[in-house]
């Protein structure tokens, strides 16, 4: 048993070492040559107004560039409401009938 605990501690510490090493390798936050600043960012910042005619860039992305994603986001909400109703409302009725 004691050996097993030691093994667990060893595995946890080595995992922590690997993860902290990965964090240390991350590029500095907000640096202009980060991989997150690619053509996509330039396209959104430079062309969002021209391509969608909307001043609020978040709305331009959510409801135009990513409109398909937003549609299924609303369907996720729909499913959540449906699941709550099925679990709480229909279950009641079934209990009465039994």
């Amino acid at each position: 048993m004691k050996l097993r605990n030691l093994l667990v501690v060893f595995i946890a510490i080595s995992a922590l070492y690997v993860m902290l090493g990965a964090v240390a390798e991350l590029p500095p936050y907000g640096a202009p040559d980060n991989p997150t600043f690619n053509q996509l960012t330039e396209r959104y910042i430079g062309k969002a107004l021209e391509e969608t005619g909307v001043l609020n860039m978040v709305t331009a992305i959510v409801l135009d560039y990513r409109a398909y994603d937003t549609m299924f986001e609303t369907i996720v909400l729909f499913t959540a409401a449906l699941a709550v109703m099925v679990a709480l409302k229909l279950g009641e009725g079934m209990g009465d009938r039994k």
């Binding site: 107004l49 001043l55 609020n56 978040v58 709305t59 937003t70 409401a81 709550v84 109703m85 409302k89």
Partner: protein
């Protein structure tokens, strides 16, 4: 659940119109100001939730029957999908906006953005009705 408090009821009655108008303002101005349909929908739903909290669940349900919220939920999603069909009818991808040849208007005005404003209304109604449905369903179950 019923709270017997005169002050709470009076203040709710006074504040409620402002909450609702502000919620619809945020939904309709999503394309020109911070905020948008998700935030506006939550604010509209909060108006109904505040009313139901102050006046009791039965009164809240009388204002907004279950049938209305379920229809709003279903038809909001249908409205969004039908607006997406505009692109397919014009021969461009689903949910296309500028590609479908829709006039984008002058940026900064409330009519700008073509389909975006209409899509935002659909999403706002959906979010509001979902919040209200979840609130009422869970509250009625609890009692």
């Amino acid at each position: 659940m019923k709270i017997r408090d005169l002050i709470l009821k009076r203040i709710t009655t006074l504040v409620l119109p402002f909450i609702q108008v502000y919620g619809f303002y945020v939904i309709f101005h999503g394309q020109i100001s911070p905020g948008g349909s998700f935030a506006g929908g939550i604010i509209v739903a909060l108006g109904f939730i505040a009313y139901a909290t102050a006046f009791g669940t039965e009164e809240g349900r009388a204002v907004l029957p279950e049938k209305v919220t379920i229809s709003a939920e279903s038809y909001g999603t249908l409205w969004y999908a039908l607006l997406g069909m505009v692109g397919i009818v014009k021969g461009v991808p689903f949910l296309a906006n500028k590609l479908a040849g829709i006039d984008l208007g002058v940026p900064g005005t409330i009519s700008s953005g073509g389909l975006i404003a209409l899509l935002g209304i659909g999403v706002g109604i959906r979010v509001a009705s979902t919040m209200v449905t979840l609130f009422f369903t869970m509250l009625e179950e609890e009692v």
